[in-house]
């Protein structure tokens, strides 16, 4: 298994990774329900935003890390440092979506307001890990854990000041939660869905923030754990 940074040619796999991780192990694609778009339209929207290479948020091809075997992508995750430029990743992502589909965005104001009530503010300056996805063919090989260690190790090289890594996900995704807690992440915050209307828009009943302190002596060599 080879671990590397993504390239533009990975966009199709990255798009799949985003779609599947957004569903969090369910069939509910939030952006489809919020913006009233078909899944293929959400897929196209994600690809359009990826092609813009916008830094500081999760849908950026330059922030993705890939595990591959014999040239075939097996797993992906996106990583970035939160709020390094005075604007949160949520704000950057919201602007990107609103820019691409302005009419859909305006029409979704009420749903967006409801969903925002479940959001947990991300920690400024923390390494964010999102869209963690392992292709079904490669599951059971602890690739997510290896990719997380690879991401932390890579970001430590360029950002030695980072002290915390954070993952946010729906708390109902037990396999993912178990995988991340096995990597040393601990639950730091939880935000429940407050009503059925919001429940219909999200792939779970509560959101959690998992955090892990980053030790500065960490070497993080995923290949060695295979």
């Amino acid at each position: 298994m080879n671990f590397r940074h993504s390239t533009i040619s990975d966009i199709p796999f990255i798009t799949k990774a985003i779609l599947e991780s957004e569903k969090s192990g369910t069939e509910t694609l939030s952006w489809s329900r919020i913006l009233d778009l078909k899944e293929e339209d959400v897929s196209q929207l994600i690809q359009q935003i990826l092609e813009e290479e916008i830094e500081g948020q999760e849908w950026n091809p330059n922030g993705f890390l890939i595990a591959e075997e014999n040239g075939k992508p097996a797993a992906a995750l996106s990583a970035w440092i939160e709020n390094t430029g005075g604007m949160s990743s949520g704000m950057i992502k919201a602007q990107s979506i609103a820019f691409m589909v302005p009419e859909k965005w305006k029409g979704a104001a009420e749903k967006l307001q409801m969903v925002s009530s479940v959001q947990i503010p991300r920690i400024s300056g923390a390494l964010q890990l999102e869209n963690i996805y392992v292709d079904p063919e490669f599951r059971g090989r602890k690739l997510a854990a290896q990719l997380i260690e690879f991401a932390i190790s890579e970001y430590q090289k360029t950002n030695p000041e980072i002290e915390l890594a954070e993952i946010q996900l729906m708390g109902n995704n037990i396999p993912a939660l178990r995988s991340y807690t096995n990597c040393g992440f601990l639950k730091a915050a939880e935000s429940p869905v407050s009503n059925d209307l919001i429940l219909n828009l999200l792939p779970g009943t509560f959101k959690v923030s998992l955090q892990r302190k980053i030790s500065h002596g960490q070497s993080g060599n995923p290949q060695s754990t295979i």
Binding site: E55, G86, M87, S88, Q95, S96
Partner: protein, 80 residues
């Protein structure tokens, strides 16, 4: 449009959108310093700024703005 006119207009737009009362428009002001300035209200603010000044921002411009000072510079560059 001069810098003072832009600041005055921004002050009014910010108060209306963020509902935070009097907001001191400084160059270093960022979203996390203003109560009510979140991803949703930010987009309302941008829409109001575009409408008031009769300008249109590009996506790259929107996502690379670091503070209010950069927003003012951008408005100045587009309004001449």
């Amino acid at each position: 449009m001069d810098n003072q006119e832009i600041r005055k207009a921004l002050s009014e737009i910010f108060q209306k959108v963020f509902k935070s009362g009097e907001i001191q428009i400084t160059d270093s002001l960022t979203a996390d310093q203003v109560k009510g300035w979140d991803s949703l209200s930010h987009l309302s603010m941008i829409a109001d700024v575009e409408s008031f000044f009769g300008i249109k921002f590009k996506l790259k411009e929107l996502v690379s703005m670091k503070n209010v000072g950069e927003l003012i510079q951008l408005i100045q560059s587009k309004t001449g």
